[in-house]
Amino acid sequence: MKINFILNGREIELTVPSDIRVVDLLREELDLTGTKESCGSGECGACTILVDGQSRLSCLMLAAQLQGREVTTIEGLAGNEGRHPVQEAFVQAGAVQCGFCTPGMVLAAVDLLGHRPDPSRAEIREGLSGNLCRCTGYQKIVDAVEMAVHREKG
């Protein structure tokens, strides 16, 4: 089937099998391998993307569902001015170990800060609770999101 949607700020039109999973579309067809797949069943958050600004699991969406939507993957998060503030905070806080969970963590944090600009540490932990880090590097990840909050506040 033919689908049209906005991917990382650009309108695209693709002909795809309608039942291909979004994670496979991104990684295999579009070479956007920043989106990771781990559990494939909605339990780990590695495949998180933003759809119309909300975090969604790309392993539990089919390509047909993207029609008319606005999709942001980790590749599209940085603007012309460079890294997104959350990405910058991850770098500054050293919140990356193996890096596999990082794209999902960053996008989950962007969603969180979008609807809760000044979260407490507990709220940050809750906001990231759908994303697993098997290096168990959670402290610095939460530190990074806190740092992004404080930077935004100036």
């Binding site: 909605g42 089919l62 569902q65 759908g130």
Partner: protein, 280 residues
């Protein structure tokens, strides 16, 4: 390849269901797409409900609140009407899955999946929720407890769709309590959960009690016996301990990978002891 359909209206859906009666229906996809990938669903077509506006949103209708079946958990959590009138549902939604699961999953999906561990079920049982089922040229309303028949089983017939949930506003309860015991906080499937709504007088007497347990039976467990053991009594350790003993015999849990039968039975009773926090 499976065809994926995204109808925009219920009329389009009825037409599709007529043409493709074997198609699997999903809304958020957090259950159905997992089963599909595991090979447990073999339907040749898929119908996604996410674009049907008639199935979405919360409508305040005076004495009743209508929730469209394809309303996401995130939408419900943010809804002022739900927050004001059904705090116990908010408490359960807060611990359902994880943020992205709540962004995708829907209340109707949670009910049609009919898992004994479905987090919205115990609160909806104590609130005496009714569901609306529609088909091409008809509709009916029935209590949720008659809609859910067992693990994964509902009374939905061919060509029928769960279209909404109806809740009556009630000023009866001043205690709304939900607690879920799982192996971790997020993304946990309940080992035992308890929903309790109580009317407690100024002197601390329980005037009315409605209780429901999740994950300790083939579907949600209710017990008039335990409710009667609480009603008319002051909230005290003694009252709750006696009710807990009754609760342990009222539930019928199984052993599975998450917990044993005996543990579940004990916890199902002990969760009642938490109600001591509402003593006056």
């Amino acid at each position: 390849m499976r065809e994926v359909f995204l109808p925009r209206t219920l009329d389009e859906l009825w037409d599709l269901l007529h043409r493709r009666p074997e198609a699997a229906i999903y809304a958020g996809g957090t259950d159905v797409l997992v089963k599909l990938r595991a090979g447990l669903i073999t339907a040749s077509g898929l119908i996604c409900l996410e674009r049907i506006q008639e199935l979405k949103g919360v409508r305040d209708q005076g004495d009743e609140v209508y929730i469209g079946a394809a309303t996401t958990h995130r939408t419900l959590l943010a809804d002022p009407v739900i927050q004001e009138h059904f705090p116990i549902l908010i408490q359960a939604l807060n611990v359902l899955g994880s943020p992205p699961i709540r962004n995708m999953g829907t209340i109707g999906g949670n009910l049609v999946t009919a898992s004994p561990a479905g987090d919205t079920l115990p609160p909806l049982y104590v609130l005496d929720a009714e569901v609306e089922v529609r088909w091409g040229d008809g509709a009916k309303r029935l209590p949720l407890s008659q809609f859910i028949l067992g693990p994964g089983k509902t009374s939905l017939g061919p060509g029928q769709l769960l279209t909404g949930v109806r809740l009556r506003k009630s000023a009866d309860y001043n205690v709304h309590h939900f607690e879920k015991v799982g192996q971790r906080k997020a993304l946990a499937i309940a080992i035992v959960s308890l929903a309790a709504v109580l009317q407690v007088s100024d002197s601390g007497r329980i005037e009315k009690a409605r209780l429901a347990w999740g994950s300790v039976g083939p579907t949600v467990i209710r017990s008039v016996e335990v409710e009667s053991a609480l009603e008319g009594r002051i909230i005290s350790r003694d009252t709750l301990t006696k009710a807990a003993a009754l609760a342990q015999t009222a539930v019928s849990p199984i052993d599975d990978i998450r917990a044993g039968e005996a543990y579940r039975r004990t916890v199902a009773g002990n969760l009642l002891l938490r109600l001591i926090n509402y003593a006056r």
